[in-house]
Each structure stands twice: as structure tokens, then as C-alpha cells.
Symmetry: D2
Subunit: 222 residues, 4 copies
């Protein structure tokens, strides 16, 4: 698989509604022009609009381990898929899930042929998440999220430790990393350390020039 | 205000995705043909599609008391409004909220000029919710939700008690009722008991003929 | 009722285990020597030990709206009462509860003849909480908690606004205030503004000399 | 290690307060008379009383991944230890925890030299929990909890599958099983399938004659 850039739109106004669509189009154009593998992760309210407007993969920020029926206000995996998502983050540090719900959500996403990325906060939790056999784990030391200090530079041992731990548990689970990622060098370093790519948000979303920031990032590898 | 029918789509497959759009169109057509005041409450993933396809009001099933920024997986009120919602349920029995979050969500919806409906489970909680001055409270005895036994027939004293309690707290807060509502008679009785309308889901969503069920309901009052 | 000092032990090590017992004894002695009305609120693990060792009232930090049976890890009101608590905080800013659970917990505490104190964060939420008719509401502007800046000095209008709001809702509900309370002057001011007393924690628990700090506080009124 | 019986007192009135102490004494006496390894897991409000009254190990029903300080209403591991607990359940089906919190709680219990038992609901979650290296995992198919239908008889493959999965992940993690366990035969079967013992509640707590029920259970192995 080509190294992936997973861009989490979070709930920034710079990536909400019309801004979300604009940013997704930038991502799509950069993916086309550079050959980069880019996934966008908008808010649920924007998911269908974006999925119907761009060719790159669109993931949900979370789904819930619920069945169709009486779950007002919750996120039904089937609804997310029908809206155009081909995958979902799970257990993001801003949306932590119970262990049994991560397991049930991975199983449900697998049934729906959707990609699952389980976010984790350290090597031990990465190993546990990998044991559930999602498509990817994405390790993000919480103290670095949104810090501007890149995990790939400042805590490379967390990345290599995670890669090693995951390999021992399963040959099928990919490893991403995140937290503080913003430059091409960060991305390159992450790939050199054995990951399949990076998960980031503010480094691009909050950049003065989102396209320039994304191009700068992508060019570290592509 | 004309008596309102608020139709909660919940997470039924019969009201998800393409089915949600179909049902919303039925609601819009029935509203037009009968003059009834109908509000649809789809899942978040379907909200924008429906809001851009029908003329009747579209509400969210919940919003969260968060500010723009780092809240991956959560429901930003601004995102919901930009997607086309003009109101939101809050504190539905399947999505109960903390007291302080109900308050903050009502304030935020008011700022965004969106309508708030706070669901409650008994007279005492109705009085508390009314003290927060949402646009509406919607009292739903939990044991009757989805039961097919109508609150307006089986527990009229909960409705009149709620109406009285709310009037003492505020002259501006409307009262709806729900739980087991499905027939025109249920709707009529609810209005006679002093409410501004009804909140329902399965009575229409799970009906063999959704249009017929909705027409039957609406004709109790319109 | 004599103005009350409700001392929340939180989960400070200075008020855990043997330290909790020591602090409760100080409170009991100060109550006796000054005639002050002091309530201690230790952690659940320390509750029975303290209740069996001192004569002043001992409250729980929270209870849960559960029935006896299958609720491993949760706080059964009946268990708390049997351990010696005569009341409980509810909805503390560090342990916010869902609206319906606050209501159910107040009802259960009333059945058990235990005192309920519902913590709130602003005038609007205070009014809502009062509508549930607990024995007390305790308004604590969250930004002042643990700040050392007293609510009674810096936001007297929140206190008087809360007192007014509660009086309109119910003649039976007392009002306390908290956040940043530490001196006798803070306590005196709170009482002058119409409250029945204060809720505090760090001002006494974290003081170098807990007894001296408590005496200084109490002497503002006693 | 001798096969263990972990008796969860849950929040049954039959195992609350004075009843809890009586039941703990029965457990202690049966342990002495039979040589069985019995652990009692009372509610937090009863923990210190029981720990100071019996010689067998006393565990908490849960702890929380919090640090000392501002966590009103929460369960500080240090407080639980000082009250006399030498271990804790984590992630019981009635008290599910977030993945990162299970990890942090295990680490904290280890620091405090307390035993950790992580409850799980299937083989996959068991494997994930084992990757966090608690002292024990306890697999309990949720549909059998409180059912009277024993997991060791009706789903032996879940037990052997869990034992196999755990051994692949770690040589240090013990496996218990639970759900529907009540007879000596259930216990014996569980041990034959490779577990280190059983976790149960209602089979003893709700028995007409708790001592007789416990003796009957224990005699399957001792």
C-alpha cells in the first residue's frame, strides 16, 4: 500500500460545511497531482456531500456499536456507509470508546467492507487494539496532539515500538502514527520508522494556506 | 402555532439513507396536502440531503455542547445548522444528556436561531427542563416508548400535569408529548390536553404504509 | 438552619484514608468548639470509617440512580446510607449527571430520608435543579473552582441571582454557594447574600494547617 | 496457584452492608474449612469494614484511572488500597471502561502491588485485554450472566479459545471464566478447561442458603 495521509477534519470551522467541501477538494486535487494516497475524515453532517463530490476515500470520525432501531442521536454504521464513507476512525483521543465497543465496531465495519483505524495512545494500548484485528492502528501520544511537536521526531521509539508490537500480534494490521505531524519531513520519518502513513489535523486544517501545507507534507514521501 | 407532528427517524433502516429521503418526501407531501405542521428528524448522516430536498423543517436528533475545534466524533451545532437543520432534539430517552450540557446546548441553539426540544420522562423533569427555557419540552414516559400504548390515552394526567408545570415556570415554553402515539385520535387527544403537538417514531416509520399511517395521524387534527 | 460549611474531601491524598479520618476529626472538634454546622464529604471508601468516628453529618460525594442488583462498580444509595451517610452531593462539576438521573437520585435520597445537594454551574441550571426540589442547590461557577478567587466576592450577582431564582421555584429548597471559598469573609459574604452556607474543598483540605484554615473560615459567621 | 473463586457482591441487598459482612465471613470460614482460594468483591462502601474483618483477599469492583486531586465522586486506586483492597475487577460487563482507561488502571494497580482482573465478553476482547498484561482476564459471555446457564457447560469453546488466545499473547496472564456459574461441576469443568478459576455472583449471593451454595461450588474442586 502507498503511504497514506489521513486528514481528520475534527470540528474546526475551517473544515466545517462549505469549508469542509473546499478542503476535501484541495485534498482530492493534491492526491491527483502528486499521486499521494489521501483520506479525508469530515464531520458526519458533511460526509455525504463530500463523498459525492470527491474521488478520494472519505471516512467517518467514529461509528457506534449499535444495531438499527432505537438509538436516537447515535451513529449507525449502515447510515455512514450509505452516506458514502468507506471507513471510520475509532477510539480517537477526543472520542474514546469502551473496549467491547471497539471490538464490536471493528466487526461491524468488516461486515460492511469498511476500513477501520483504531487510535491508540501508547505501545501497550496499540498491542491491545491490534489484537482486535482492525485494518489499522494509529498511535498518537496524547501530549503531542495539536502540539506542533512531531511524534516521528520526538518519540520515534513509540512508533518503532508500536510497529514491533503490532507485528507480533498480527501480520494483517497496519500501523499509522499521529500527533504533531505537519511537515514533509515528519511524514517521511514516519514511513522510515515502519508505518503505513500518518494521521493529522491542525497541521493542514489550521494552516493559512491549506493547499500549500498539504503539498509540503505530501512531498516528503511523494 | 399550528399543532406539530415531530417525526423522529431514529436509526431504523426504514428511515436511513435513501429510505430517509423517501420518508421525508412523504412527510413534505402530506404537510402540503393537509396543511399539517410536520417536522422531520433524520440521522445526522442524512440531514443535509433531506434539508436540501424538502421544504418542511428538518431537525437534528441531538447536538453537543462543544465549541468548534478539537472534538473528533462529536456533533457541532454550527455544522448541523450549516447542513440545513433549523432545530434539534435534546436529551431524547435514547440519548440522555447531562443537565449542564442541556443548558449549554439550548443557549447555543438559541444563538444559532434554531429551535430546541428537550425530551423529558416525567412531570418533575419536565418542570426542570422548562426552567432552562427551551422552545419546547416533550414529555415521554419511557415505559410507553415504542409500546403502541399511547401516552395521551393511558397517562393523560402526565400530559396535563406537564402542561400545568410548564406554564408555572415559563409562558414561552411549548409542550409536546410522545410515547406510543400512532393514531389520529392520539394526536387529537394530545392537543385537547393542552399540548402543541406530538413526537413519534415507530408509529409511522415502521408502518407497512408510511404515507397512510402519517395521513391517518394527521387527520386527527387537520 | 444554622449556616453550613460543607467540606468536600474530593480525592486529595490529604483527605484520603487515615488523612480523611484525621481531617473529619478536626471538623468535628471545630464544630463542637465553635457551634458551627459542618458537614464532611469523604470518598466512598472512607465513608463508614468516618461516619462511625465523628458526630457531625457525613455525606457521600455522589450516588447513582440504580436499583439493588446487577450494577457492579456503581454507587447504590442504600449501601451509602447503611455505611452512615445522611446525605449526598449530586452533579458535582467533577461528576456531572444526566438530568433524569439527578431527578431519580433526589427521589431516592428523599425516600431514604437523606439530604440532597445538587451542584450547579449558573443561574439557569440552578433554577432547573431547584425545580426538582432537592434539599439544597449549590451554585459553583466552574471557572472559579479551586481558583482561590471567591465566588462571593467576585460574582455576588450569581449568588443573589441564584437565591432569587430558587425562591421563585420553591420555598423549600436551600441555596449554597461554592468555588474559591476559603476565608471567613468569603463565608460571611455568602451568608449575607442569602445563602444557607458554603461548599468548599481545597481551601481547607490543601491548607498547610487544616484546623487553622477551618477555624478562620468558620469564624466569619460563628 | 490454587483455583480461585471470585465472588462479586454486585449491588444486591443480600450482599450490602451488614449482609455483606455476613457473607464475607461465610466465605472466609469456607475458605478455611475447605482450603479453597476465595476472593470477595464487595461494594466500595463496605470494602474497609470487610477487609478489616476477614483474612481472605478483598477486591474492589472497579477503580478509575484518575490521579489524586479533583475527582469528586470517582474511585481513587490509592483510596481503595488504603481501605484494604488487594485487587480490583476492571471492565465488568456492568461497568465497562474505555480501552485507554483499562490500560492506565492496570498500570496503576501494578504500581500499588494490587491484582487486576479484566472482564471480557468474547475471545477477541480477551486477547486484547491480555495484551495489556493484567494479572487475570475473566471471560464472561454477556448473554449468560445471571442466566443460571453455565458458560463452562454451554460454551466450553469460548473458555478454551480464551485460554489459547491468552497463552499466545502472554505467559503471565491468568484466565478466569464466569457467567451462569453456580455448581461444583461448573467450577470443576472450568478448571479442566484450563482456567485458574471462576467469577460469579448470583449463584451464591442470591442463594437461599449462601453457605451451602458456596460449599457446593467449592467442593467441585476442593
Amino acid at each position: 500500500m502507498k503511504p497514506v495521509v489521513v486528514l481528520n477534519f475534527k470540528t474546526y470551522l475551517e473544515s466545517t460545511g462549505a469549508n469542509a467541501l473546499k478542503l476535501a477538494r484541495i485534498c482530492s486535487e493534491v492526491a491527483k497531482s502528486t499521486g499521494a494516497n489521501i483520506v479525508v475524515v469530515p464531520q458526519l453532517a458533511d460526509l455525504r456531500l463530500i463523498a459525492s463530490s470527491v474521488d478520494i476515500p472519505v471516512y467517518a470520525q467514529t461509528v457506534e456499536a449499535i444495531k438499527p432501531g432505537s438509538s436516537t442521536g447515535h451513529v449507525l454504521p449502515e447510515a455512514v456507509r450509505e452516506a458514502g464513507a468507506s471507513g471510520s476512525l475509532l477510539n480517537h483521543s477526543e472520542c474514546r470508546l469502551k473496549l467491547a465497543d471497539i471490538d464490536a465496531s471493528i466487526v461491524k465495519l468488516r461486515e460492511l467492507k469498511m476500513t477501520s483505524i483504531v487510535c491508540t495512545n501508547n505501545i501497550s494500548v496499540t498491542r491491545a487494539a491490534a489484537a482486535l484485528e482492525p485494518d489499522f492502528v494509529a498511535v498518537e501520544p496524547p501530549e503531542l496532539i495539536g502540539s506542533g511537536v512531531s511524534v516521528s521526531k520526538s518519540q520515534p521509539e513509540v512508533i518503532t515500538g508500536s510497529v514491533d508490537a503490532v507485528r507480533k500480534v498480527s501480520g494483517k494490521v497496519g500501523v499509522l502514527c499521529g500527533a504533531g505531524i505537519s511537515t514533509g519531513e515528519d511524514f517521511k520519518k514516519a514511513v522510515e520508522l515502519g508505518t503505513g502513513g500518518v494521521l493529522l489535523a491542525s497541521g493542514v486544517v489550521k494552516a493559512k494556506d491549506q493547499r500549500a501545507a498539504l503539498l509540503e507534507l505530501v512531498k516528503g514521501v511523494y
